[in-house]
Amino acid sequence: MLRISAVALLLGLAVAAPAFPQEPATRAEADRQRRAAKNDNLKPYEPGGFERAMHFVEERGVFILGREGFYPKIGSLTTGSGFAYGVGYRDRDLFDKVAVLDLWAATSLRRYWAAEARLSLPRLANNHVMAEAWAGRRDYPREHFFGLGPRAARGDETSFAIRSDLFGGRAAVRPLSILMAGAALEHLSPDLGAGKDPRVPSIEERFTTATAPGLGESIDFLRSTAFLEVDYREPKNAREGGWYRVDLSRFSDRNNRQHSFTRVDTDLRQFVGLLAGRRVLAARLFLSTSNADDGATMPFYLMPTLGGNDTLRGFREYRFRGPHALLLQGEYRWEIWSGLDGALFYDAGKVADRRRDLNFSRLERDYGFGFRFNTDEAIVFRVDAGFGSRDGKHLYIVFGGIF
């Protein structure tokens, strides 16, 4: 019986044997058998979740942020506005790509509001001429004011609201790729109100028109500007080169000329790249000086300010305000990885009531460090921590760059 069983089993195996691939006689046949085995078990390609997500981000996400038509407006409205969000509509190839139209409205976490319409013609005459026109409204309810001049005290902090309607236009010629000269005309209708920051008093509770010129007045201005700009940064998120600009602006009080003034802003930025541009020494000199017309005063809210994430980083936003201002900034930037730089910085500056006080004595100072997430063209996001000022430590998280 056993013998019969064994024989049957052997026969069964012998019959079953042809189900296995035959022993290959050649290498080619061996390879073919391996392919045949895979052919019998083919699986469709199934992308994973991460792969699908990256596809979405790279194929669609970029277009969501940079898309034509309606787009999400995110970022910042002005220094101190906090994170802003809104909606925009743009058309970047109007008139067969000659013009760009951008309309947007946004609000911020601090309840700032702004809306703007801008029509630009950036590449006329074979890139040698540009022109643009704009109209907008700004509604900033928590702007800070500490008083005028270098002795403004932090304890005097107040807030004010400013709503401004504006429209204007500018045109410029670019005779060389690094040189641009132009002029602009803008109508401003700032309207001041009580500050909405609950932590500090409103401006009128602590200041008067004598200590805050323009307070309580509604003044229409026509600002006419001529400017000259030289830009030979390489790349635009500079590792080498320079950016220099001079603006000569005339602010004409359209109501009674009691607040007309002239202002000159000079902004010089120089970048020295070391070690293949992976170390950069960056320096900035900003100088602003104004001349009020005889018998006129300059409104405080049109004066240059120092303090905040892009000027004196050891101080609060708009900490110092005056008709004249001087700012010196120095940074040492070092690339940690592609797309991430570290920075050590030193800021010094002052505002002055009189032009002759615009010197290098009694400068406010701070220092600190920061990190910048960047591309060749711009800083996308940065964190700067400022120390060493008489106002203590300050941390700034900013969507955007520094000089």
Binding site: F20, D31, P44, M54, E58, R92, A276, W337
Partner: protein
């Protein structure tokens, strides 16, 4: 009781015999399926029939730049293992396949052959061509044109900052990679008159602003030419790339296999031609050698589909970064590399990466940023980790270096000339830099294993062989060679040493008496002694098979 016992024993014995017989048969059957002889009669195989099964149902795999970067930088796709390349034939070479065709590595090519490369025609003229589409992806500005016969081409321009740079790199890279053995598309240089461009009625573009497909407008071309280098005669030098035949299936990856391609049975990270591509990448500074710069095309022949695998996009090799001169980091460090980054962070930048100190020569702008003095082949890196490159072993590198060694100075010069740099200094510099880099590649990768090659066993027992490193002056001759002969049993894969270990000073030896008289397989294991190259002590083992009255090389093991 005793009878019962005897009977039981007998029954047990019969049962045991039967079960054992069955077990033996099963074992034999399964064993026969898993372990064949070491050498088959058709070894060494020089053609891999990887078109054997229909692959027409494969789907497109189109990796994005970000996905490819993240996966390969922060993940570890594929298998990282010190194992011999899995698609080599028994003589350690790569058979022809849909991935690779042996060219300069296996046969003599004339300079004319090399310069011609994959080109189908001598030159192209854009007369009668129409602009048929925008360019959907890639950093290099361009668009698509169709010739009067309906053949589609991609047109790309050079950046204004570096005229002739990207197109020159593409021309040179294509010629080299074709000669190496890879499948590449044919590319040409042409001059284009912007005013004479004719837009096809049905030309479309994927709008770069919103991704929607729309009709192509002349202003779209203006944007291309705004970012293009213009020639003194007002025309534009353009790169013209012919579209490969077949249906695009996206890119291949440097790891794993396509699950839906029956012919793709060797994990890509274990393919010799992909591992060894690191050697070519280092030589030519092809830091952009990554999956997204490859192309799979489905070709249908006789009703059966097969995928041909292309290397393409050489616009950022050599000193070119496609739209700018190559970055200093490129070729020296991954985009993201943990240790140097943390060191830089912790030291506030006092730690200086070595590549930051490289002093690049002052060269014409068409060269970009390229040099040979600081180049160290072993330290060269692509933009981010490549699984096949990471798996490259000394034997893979030796394979690649031997191919590189076939390029003479004249050949290199001729290929560089094909780029038609208008400044002769660019041609001269590029040629000299590539010669110098070639010599460094050879010194590095021909000497990590025993470089004995081309062994022959004559009927009288004389053994002759060459030394690949010495032949191309990448090393001085060995002090001595050590030879250990053996008899080889192909069925059991066992070697039986025959005779004493021999020491010779010349590249020749003699088989022990009697070894060649019996058996079908013999072998010899060779080491070499050189004071500067300890890698030469890694034995190279050669197997010979009796074929008629001669012994032919049938197997090579190296490293």
């Amino acid at each position: 009781m005793a009878n019962i016992s005897t009977s039981s024993l007998a029954a047990f014995s019969r049962r045991w015999v039967a079960v054992s017989a069955v077990a033996l048969i099963v074992a034999a059957a399964s064993g026969a399926r898993s372990a064949g002889p070491r050498f088959y009669p058709d070894d060494p195989l020089w053609v891999d029939d990887d078109r054997a099964f229909d692959a027409s149902k494969t789907v497109e795999i189109e990796d994005t730049n970000g996905y490819d970067f993240v996966v390969n930088t922060f993940g570890h796709p594929g298998e990282r293992r010190d194992v011999r390349a899995m698609n080599v034939n028994t003589v350690d070479e790569v058979p022809d396949s849909t991935w690779f065709t042996n060219r300069i590595g296996r046969r003599d090519l004339t300079i004319a052959d090399l310069v011609k490369g994959p080109d189908i025609v001598d030159r192209v003229s854009l007369d009668g061509w129409v602009v048929s589409a925008g360019k959907p992806s890639g950093r290099q500005p361009g668009f698509r044109m169709t010739d009067p016969r309906g053949q589609l081409y991609q047109i790309e321009v050079d950046p204004p900052s570096n005229p002739e740079m990207a197109s020159g790199a593409e021309i040179i890279g294509t010629a080299f990679y074709h000669a190496f053995g890879y499948h590449v598309v044919d590319v040409y240089l042409a001059e284009l008159d912007r005013q004479a461009l004719v837009l096809a009625e049905n030309a479309t573009i994927r709008d770069p602003l919103n991704g929607h497909r729309r009709r192509l407008r002349r202003s779209d071309l203006d944007l291309v030419f705004d970012r293009a280098a213009r020639m003194p005669n007002g025309r534009y030098r353009v790169l013209v790339s012919r579209f490969a035949p077949g249906r695009p299936l996206g890119n291949f990856r440097y790891s794993g296999t396509r699950p839906d391609d029956p012919n793709d049975i060797v994990a890509h990270e274990h393919r010799r031609e992909l591992r060894g591509a690191r050697v070519f990448g280092a030589w030519l500074n092809h830091d952009d050698s990554r999956g997204v710069n490859s192309l799979d095309m489905l070709e249908i022949s006789n009703g059966r589909g097969a995928i041909r695998h292309y290397m393409f996009d050489f616009g950022s090799i050599l000193g070119s970064g496609t739209v700018f001169a190559q970055r200093h980091r490129a070729g020296n460090e991954y985009i993201f590399e943990s240790r140097p980054g943390w060191l830089t962070l912790a030291t506030l930048g006092a730690y200086i990466r070595p590549w930051m100190r490289i002093d690049y020569p002052d060269v014409p702008r068409s060269v970009g940023r390229f040099e040979a003095d600081a180049f160290d082949p072993e330290k060269w890196k692509p933009e981010y980790p490549n699984p096949a490159f990471d798996n490259m072993r000394p034997d893979d590198a030796f394979w690649g270096a031997r191919i590189v060694s076939r390029f003479t100075d004249e050949m290199i010069g001729a290929i560089v000339k094909k780029a038609q740099y208008s400044d002769p200094r660019a041609t001269a510099f590029m040629t000299q830099a590539l010669i110098k880099r070639r010599d460094k590649v050879l010194s590095t990768w021909l000497n990590q294993v025993c470089p004995v090659v081309d062994p022959k066993v004559l009927a009288d027992g004389t053994l002759t062989f060459g030394n690949a490193a010495v032949d191309v002056r990448a090393a001085t001759p060995a002090d001595r060679y050590g030879l250990q002969w053996f008899r080889f049993d192909n069925a059991t894969d066992t070697r039986t040493p025959i005779g004493e270990r021999q020491t010779v000073t010349a590249a020749t030896g003699r088989a022990p008496a009697g070894l060649l008289g019996a058996g079908d397989y013999v072998g010899v294991s060779i080491t070499a002694e050189h004071p500067q190259h300890p890698g030469w002590m890694r034995p190279a083992t050669f197997f010979f098979r009796r074929a008629g009255g001669e012994w032919t090389l049938v197997g090579v093991e190296r490293g």
